[in-house]
């Protein structure tokens, strides 16, 4: 296209440009073919994955699985369903997002709107980057140290004065660190995409900077906040290592104390990911049909979140700033 737009400045007897460009060399054509192949392979892989679990899901998912709790046993009928793990997934991701969202938005607002002193901003940026790169198993072990310490011990299960540091609180708090970098980077991107004249217009009306952030910038960046939240929730739901370490040992809710909700939060339990891990041939339960069914449900949740992210991104693209 750009070739056509070049002004032809040299009239004269030159060889007519028969082809617009010379034929590609063999190596270039092979490269393009490889790129095509790999691109199609990616699609095929995702298709195969979804199809595989769809088939297994239709084969093994029964409504009763959603309504019964796991129970010890050696056959598929005796081991029950995954009601508690499913509720556990929701509970743990609710706790994690309840912690990660406010902190993440706060950090993102500070980084994009304030960012002074500059040294702290640089440190904060690399901190977020480091948290994103920290293996979740290390976060889990750190969580054990935090939550078995006397100061935070009241948040988790204990017997005869010994605190185990394992509870929904502990798992949720550590999982919030998994979601935090995603929330921060998405919210920040959304805030930085808003042009300065929007801020200046708000200042001109006498709004303070904080009021501008809260009433103008954050509402405008809502699709990005939503994207960050959903991406974070996706990671939280999919994480297994933290669950194994900080929540493991019991498949059903094992409450600690007598206050209704608090006892559950302080107690242990499990999530769908742990249920799959437990029921895989390598796990202790070894009930493949249950593992397939739970994995199917998990995949459907992730798919739903993905569709949500898609809609949110499309909405944020629709909102364009004239600059």
């Amino acid at each position: 296209m750009s070739l056509l737009e070049l002004p032809v400045s040299q009239p004269g007897p030159r060889a007519p440009r028969a082809a617009q460009s010379p034929p590609w060399r063999l190596i270039d054509r092979v490269g393009l073919a490889v790129a095509w192949l790999l691109g199609l392979l990616f699609c095929a892989l995702a298709g195969a994955l979804v199809l595989y679990f769809l088939v297994q899901g239709i084969k093994y998912v029964r409504p009763s699985l959603f309504l019964t709790n796991p129970s010890p046993g050696f056959t598929a009928t005796a081991t029950g369903g995954f009601l508690d793990p499913m509720l556990g997934t929701m509970l743990v991701s609710a706790i994690a997002m309840a912690i990660a969202l406010p902190i993440g938005i706060g950090v993102a607002v500070w980084l994009s709107e304030y960012g002074r002193p500059a040294a702290l901003a640089r440190v904060a940026e690399s901190t977020i980057e480091m948290i994103a790169g920290t293996p979740s198993i290390v976060l889990a072990l750190f969580g054990i140290l935090l939550f078995e310490s006397p100061a935070l011990g009241f948040l988790s299960r204990s017997s005869e004065g010994v605190v185990f540091g394992r509870s929904f609180f502990a798992a949720g708090a550590m999982l919030s660190l998994v979601a935090l970098p995603l929330v921060v980077s998405n919210v920040r991107e959304g805030l930085e995409a808003i042009p300065d004249h929007v801020r200046e217009a708000s200042y001109a009306l006498g709004k303070t900077k904080f009021a501008t952030t809260r009433r103008v910038l954050l509402p405008a960046a809502r699709p990005s906040v939503l994207t960050g939240a959903m991406l974070g929730a996706g990671r939280v739901i999919g994480d297994t290592a933290i669950i194994v370490v900080l929540l493991g040992a019991t498949l059903t809710f094992d409450r600690s104390g007598s206050v209704p909700l608090l006892s559950t939060l302080r107690g242990t339990g499990s999530t769908l990911t742990y249920y799959v891990f437990y029921n895989a041939p390598t796990g202790e339960g070894n009930q493949p049909t249950k593992a397939y069914a739970a994995a199917f449900v998990l995949l459907m949740i992730v798919l739903a979140l993905n569709v949500g992210v898609d809609i949110a991104t499309r909405r944020s693209r629709r909102l364009r700033w004239s600059s």
């Binding site: 750009s2 691109g39 990616f42 440190v123 480091m130 303070t208």
Partner: protein, 332 residues
């Protein structure tokens, strides 16, 4: 200049200053939390490191029996055993992560180039959500696919009776292998790379690409010489993030790589690929129930410390690699 002007015109009030301080405190809290993590984990890991010195990273004897001895010594107060030589675990981690990241890097670069420059619109609209979906599938689901599909495939079709007999008495070859781990991990980290690479490629100024096309260079070469070269900071960032993800992957690898801590030996010929191994992170998962015995606890935290420091080093390496690229005016 514009920046300063903007700052001067901001209306400030006391409540505003308070808000800034609050947010600043929040940021400091997150920073302190990260520093605290380093301090706590290293403090817990210290006994294991100080007993073993540099031989912690060396290779001597069987790691599994060393871990067993460490665990057994937990009950006898004052006679704790700390001897631990983690080379097989480190070697296993290096092989799995290195293999997966190398393969994923090459594939992702091609796929990212394809998505950004060459794919027809219809295919691009399919590929972008597909990449995002693959990146967000929980690792345990990939592990399940590995256990049910890949491991039996390797165990039944790739491993012959002869090769099983050749290593009899040392390890059993049953499909739980390095190859399975690398294959699944590649599928896991490639989408992460593709997503970040294609973001970088999209940010390359259009004019630069068109200038090169205008000089008569074909599109394939242009994309590699101009596009990929300009997007190098994003490529580094994506590789670092994907490597960190691979390094920390514990559950999936513990499902498909086997349960013995064996260091696959390249001298074994092609059997090397189907030998079992157990990376560092999976080792923590395997022994997590023994966390209450003090020597075991310190050993597990030492493994975690090695992972944490490698992740930190990786992060720093990425930053250092990006520095010389900043001159070329590319977006980070």
């Amino acid at each position: 200049m514009v920046e300063e002007f903007r700052l001067d015109t901001e209306p400030t009030r006391d409540s505003d200053r308070r808000a800034e301080l609050m947010l600043g405190a929040l940021v400091c809290l997150v920073v302190v939390l990260l520093l605290g993590m380093f301090a706590f984990v290293l403090y817990q890991a210290w006994p294991s490191f100080s007993h073993n010195g540099l031989s912690w990273f060396g290779s001597r004897g069987n790691v599994d029996s060393q871990i067993q001895a460490i665990f057994n010594s937990g009950t006898s107060l004052g006679h704790e055993v700390y001897a631990f030589h983690g080379w097989p675990l480190i070697w296993g981690t290096a092989l799995v992560v290195g293999g997966a990241v190398t393969i994923a890097f090459v594939c992702s670069l091609f796929v990212a180039v394809f998505i950004v420059e060459f794919a027809p619109d219809a295919l691009r609209r399919v590929l972008e959500p597909v990449v995002r979906l693959l990146a967000s599938v929980p690792s345990v689901i990939y592990g399940l696919v590995g256990v049910f599909v890949l491991v039996p495939l390797i165990g039944n079709h790739l491993i012959t009776q002869g090769s099983k007999a050749s290593v009899q008495g040392i390890i059993t070859l049953n499909g739980y292998s390095l190859l399975a781990g690398v294959a699944i991990l590649t599928v896991m980290v490639a989408p992460v790379m593709v997503a970040i690479f294609s973001d970088g490629l999209r940010a390359v100024p259009r004019g630069w690409i068109e200038a090169s096309l205008g000089l008569g260079i074909n599109k394939w070469r242009t994309v590699w010489k101009i596009g990929v070269r300009t997007a190098r900071p994003a490529i580094v960032a994506g590789t670092v993030l994907a490597t960190a993800r691979a390094l920390g992957e514990a559950v999936m690898l513990s499902m498909v790589c086997g349960v013995v801590s064996f260091a696959p030996n390249p001298a074994d010929g092609w059997i090397f690929f189907v030998e079992p191994t157990r990376p560092l992170a999976s080792t923590i998962i395997a022994f997590i129930d023994d966390l209450s015995t003090p020597p075991m606890r310190h050993t597990l935290y030492a493994i975690a410390a090695v992972l944490l420091l490698s992740a930190a080093l990786l992060s720093f390496g990425g930053w250092a690699a990006k520095q010389p690229m900043k001159r070329y005016g590319a977006r980070t």
